[in-house]
Each structure stands twice: as structure tokens, then as C-alpha cells.
Amino acid sequence: DENQDSELESFRQQWKQELKTGPRLQQLGAAGNTKKTNKNWRTGGNRNLNRHVHATPTASNVGNNNAPVEDNSRFGEASSRSASTNNKSIAVANTKVVIQQLQNVVLTDVSSPIVEASRNDCVNDNYNYNNCSGNTGRSRMSDEEKEQLARQHYIRGVELERAGQLYEAIQQYRRAMQLVPDIENTALLSCLNNDDNSDNEDDTSQLSENNSSSGTGLFGQLTSLLSPSAPVCQPRYQQQALHVSSLPQELLENILCWVVGGELDVRSLHAFSAVCRGFYVLTRAETLWKKACQRVWGRNCSLEDRVPPSSNKPAQKDTEKSLYGDSWRLMYLTRPQPRYNGCYISKTSYFRSGECNFHDHTYQPWHLVSYYRCIRFFPGGVSLMLTTSELPQTVVGHLSNRDPKQPQVLVGQYSLEGSLINLKFRREHNNKRGSTHRSKGGKRWGQGTTDVAETLLSMTLELLSTKKGIRNWFLCWRSYSITSVLQNGLVESNDLDVSQLDSFPQLAFSRVKSYNRESMQQLQ
């Protein structure tokens, strides 16, 4: 187009002018689109932006808060933000024209440096947009959807600008313009209502109900805001290299299954959901939580499962509705289960009378014996137990593998029944071990341990919450029986009295960071 060409020419003239005066722009112009330039662009832009925000309000600054028409100048200013603030006047004077150019050249082929840079931004976005191989099945957005989304972006941009977040505002404007180039004019026609603001407040209050249905709540709000074919996240700074948003959704879900892993590290999942909106929506995928539930409660678990009544709580009324609605996530988070990213530790202390031994100069009338009991649970029914007199901090490392190397660590199985955990450990004795000085439950095994071939420890513990409502924090003893199988085949059973809290204190959970450093297997 002739008109376009002449406009572009004048545009080029302006930028040549600015190239002479602005040192940062010179770098940008000379170096082209190398990564180094992008860095300068970024730091230059940020530095300028800070200066700009704190500067005394200029005419354009004040004008912006009133009418959307003035937003153009802001857009133009920020796009020329690489220019030093001394040249702001030049930039401001040319903003209107610049905007026109930019709007035209966003979609056309121009070789001016700064337009190239911003065009690459748009092109990168479009590249990510169109290159999601996982999205081939989805149809292109209709014009109406495009316009609706563009309008949302535009409105968002206005909000951000009013809030003073100019950089974010620019991004929203740019996204809006990518979709519908003259969104400004069409958005002007529709009235900017305050529904968006009030919606935010409504949804935060609804969150306290932990509503899992997709229509309401934070999840619903965010899914409605995000378009299904848009990239799942945006690069913060422009980058040439492939960005994580170019990975299709199915691959990101695959990666999430690795993040959670066979050891069910949902803590990492929570951190992941707080990164950006797209990631938040990803982490709420029910397939992920269903796999996690199946890992804990078996393939046959269902949302209709009822928690059998435990000793403390009365039997629940069998209502028609399932406890967890249709949300596997809710089931995973609320149904009682042990925590996997640490150990349950208890400390037992008791007094033992000292033995009077004439040769022994360490005689004391009494000794204070204390030992720690550490129990660790793994998803899938494996558990480890270690009773030791050493401080837990030093020995939790022994419980990091499902197959421990230390012989003192007992390996056993557990099963979940509502909030009760049934554990079974087996210890084999060989004659070389002799009698161990380790005591259980305050009693001391006599000298007859050399006759025992194997010991079976069978215990039942109950998961309790703290007073503040932190679930699955304490383990309380319900029963403990020790069965000794002697070498001559006889079986002796011993039921210990677990009601004495001195001998059987509660075990409290303690997180161990090193347990979840790597994922050994993917969540299937």
C-alpha cells in the first residue's frame, strides 16, 4: 500500500532520529535481535520504567487516567521505553503516529529494529500459539470468541494501568491487539463495567467453601478467563529460545506426573500451581488426582467410599451424596492418609533402676533411658520403622529408601482403614544378634531372646489432627501386639497396654526435605 509505505517511511525517519539521540536504542538497533540485545532491552526497559513511574506526572501521565483514548500514548511511550527519559518528549510527540505504525506493522513485514523486536514478541507468541502440536485437534477461535477474549485482555490492561502496573498493562494490550487489531475502537463502544472487579471479590469469598464445581470458585474463574487454545503461560521477558509454553498441554501433564511421582510429592504440585494461571488450571486436572488416589487406596477406590467409623467419631450417616462430590482432589486432600514426605517421631523416656555392680564404677541408682521411634510411610503399603536412641535428625537418612541398608530399620506393610493404620513388621533373629538392649514399651526383653527365631510386631495407630486443624499430623496408639516365634516352633503372643501415654506417646509428623528431592518413578 502506498499509504502504508509513506507512513512506514516517516516512521523510519523518526526512529533514525531517536537512534542518534538515544544510546540504548543504538545498541538495540546495531545488535539486531541477538539475545544480548534482548537483555539490554529488558534491563533498559525496566530501568526506564521505574524511572518513569516515579517521575513527576507529565501531561500524558495525568491524561491517561481519564479516557481510553489517552491509553494510546501510554502504549506508544512504553513501546519506546528504551529511549532515555530525556527523549520522552520526542516519543510523546510521535506516539499517535507510532501507534498507527505499530498497529499496521504488527502484521506486516518491516525491517525497522524496534518494530522487529516487538514484532518478534508477537511472532513468538503466535509461534507458541500455533505450534502447540497438542492443539491440532482444536479448531480456530471464531471471530466472536476472539473479540471477546481480546476485549477481556484490553479491559485487564486498563485495570493494570490504573493500578500502576504499566509493564503488565502493555502485555495485555499487546495480546488484545494481536487478536483484534482495532480492539480499542470496539472496546470503546462497549461500556467498561465494573463486573470484573466485583467478580474477583466474590470468588475469593467463595473459596472458603472450597467449592470444587467448575462453575464457581477460583478454578472456575480462571478457566473462564483462559482461552483453551492460548498458550498456557507467557514468557516474562522476551526470549528467542523455545519457551515452556510451547509444550502442549498433554506433555505438561506428563511432566506433572513426574513431579508428583510415585512418592506423591503434592507439595511441589502446590508450588507449581502458584506460578501462573495456566499452571494453576493444569494442576487441577482430575486425572492427576485420580491417579494419586489410586496410588494410595488402590485401583478400586471410588469417590463413593465411606470412611468406616473410628473409635472417636460416631458412625456417619449414610447420605446419598458422596463425601467428595466429583472431585478426586478433594478426596485426596480430605480423606485420612499418612503423610509421605517425612517421618512420624515419638520420644519415650523412662527410668530404669541402676544395677549394683561392684566392678562397675558407673553405678547410678537410676538411669534415664530415652529412645526415639521413627515411622515412615510410602504410598503403596510399605512402611519403615526405626527405634533408636540417637537423635532423629541423624537417622532420618536411613529411612529414605524403600529398601533400607541398615539392619536396624524394620520393613513392614501397612493398610489404611479410614483413619486407622494397621502396621505389621517382621524382624528376624539369628543367634549372633543375641539379646538387644533395645526396649519396647518400657519392658525389657529377658535373656531368652536367643531362642526367638522371628518377631512379628503388629500395631494399630490412628491418624489425628492437631488442635488447629492440621490433618494427619499425629499418630495415636490403639493396639500393639508382639508375636514371637521361637526356634522350636512355639508362638508366644504379647498384647501391650497402649493406654499408658508415658510408654506409648503420640508420634508427631516431621517433614524431611531430602525425601522428595528426585522422583524415582512417574505417577501411573
Binding site: 516474562r236 511441589s268 480430605t334 529398601d403
Partner: protein, 204 residues
């Protein structure tokens, strides 16, 4: 099929075929019979496929090694005449790396992972070679993921996804954003809501 021999000449083993087939000028009718004879005399192990990258560069690879990729396997089974496999979505540099992976794993089949796993360290579970293979910059890693997905190579996909997962695990949201250059597009209210939700979830 015939045209692909132009570069390298006919395979050596054609010399043992009956004289009638010495000539390269094969008519269409005899092609099918040649195919049958080909099946008898040709050693399938020695077939070389040529993988064509995005930049139209071709790289030869043994058919058996290339069968690690389900995509190539399907394409081969669909048309056994065609020895050139176009992979327009895969860049040359990435294709080279993928071929290295396939070659290494063809000669070194993965050890049976002992269950229960003995070590908490990924580097000890996967082989040393694999761990070094994914010590690359982020862009290459993502390209490898996309290539493994496109070419449908499960082992490579697992390895690369596990590597990315290890970059995410145990990190705070801000650290993840920094690492992957992601824009935080939450509003302050949303951010607060997410934080509250996560706090509740952690306490459950």
C-alpha cells in the same frame, strides 16, 4: 525405492541375486516379485533408513535402531519401499541427539530397574550416560521433549520429562518462574486466593 539407491549405488548383496535382477531398470510388474525375492535374500538388519530433518538434511541410521521410534516404525510398516523418513518437525541438531540416544540404547538395553528402587538419587537410577545426555540447556531439553513426543520414543520422553520435573520439584513458585521465564499473570487477589488454597491443601 530405486531412486534412493542412486546416491549409494545398489547394495552389495544384490550381487548374489539371480542375474535377471541385476539391472536396476525394474518394471512395475516385476517390482512385486522382486519384493518377495527381496524378502528372502535381503538381510533386514542391514537396511539403512534415512531420516530427513526440518532443514532437509538426511542422516542414515540402521533400521533396527530406528525402530525405537514408534513413528518411524509405523511409517516403515506402512511403506517398506520408502527408505527416507521425513521428520519436518525436528531440527537437525536435535535429530542428531535423538539418533545418538537411540544408538546408545540399542547397544545398551536398559537394566531392569530393581524394585524397590535402591537409591534416592536419579543419577544412580538412570545410567550415567543418560544423566549426562540430559545435561543440556533448557531450549534443547524442550526440543528433545517435543521430538520424543513427535517421534514417539517412550524412553527418551520419560528421561527428558523426568529431568524437567527435577527442575520443578522442591522449588518455590518464584524460583520456578525465574527458571522458566514465566510471567506471573495472577491478580493480587487471585494470588492471595491461591496461596490460601495451597495452605489449606498442605494442612490436609
Amino acid at each position: 525405492l530405486i531412486s534412493s539407491f542412486d546416491d549409494f549405488g545398489p547394495p552389495v548383496h544384490l550381487n548374489i541375486l539371480p542375474r535377471a535382477f541385476d539391472s536396476l531398470e525394474m518394471s512395475e510388474e516385476s517390482k512385486s516379485s522382486k519384493e518377495e525375492i527381496k524378502g528372502l535374500d535381503d538381510e533386514p538388519d542391514e537396511i539403512q533408513l534415512k531420516l530427513k530433518s526440518q532443514e532437509s538434511e538426511t542422516y542414515p541410521i540402521d533400521k533396527n535402531i530406528a525402530m525405537m521410534s514408534e513413528l518411524i516404525k509405523t511409517m516403515w510398516e506402512g511403506d517398506k519401499e520408502e527408505h527416507e523418513i521425513p521428520l519436518p518437525n525436528v531440527k537437525s541438531s536435535i535429530l542428531k541427539k535423538v539418533m545418538d540416544f537411540m544408538k546408545y540404547h540399542h547397544t545398551n538395553p536398559p537394566k531392569e530397574i530393581e524394585k524397590p528402587l535402591k537409591s534416592a538419587n536419579m543419577h544412580e537410577v538412570v545410567s550415567e550416560w543418560d544423566a549426562n545426555f540430559v545435561e543440556v540447556d533448557q531450549e534443547t531439553l524442550f526440543e528433545l521433549i517435543l521430538a520424543a513426543n513427535y517421534m514417539d520414543i517412550k524412553a527418551l520422553l520419560d528421561l527428558t520429562c523426568a529431568k524437567v520435573a527435577s527442575m520443578i520439584k522442591g522449588k518455590s513458585p518464584e524460583e520456578i518462574r525465574k527458571r522458566f521465564n514465566i510471567q506471573n499473570d495472577f491478580t493480587p487477589e487471585e494470588e492471595e486466593a491461591v496461596r490460601a488454597e495451597n495452605k489449606w491443601a498442605e494442612e490436609s
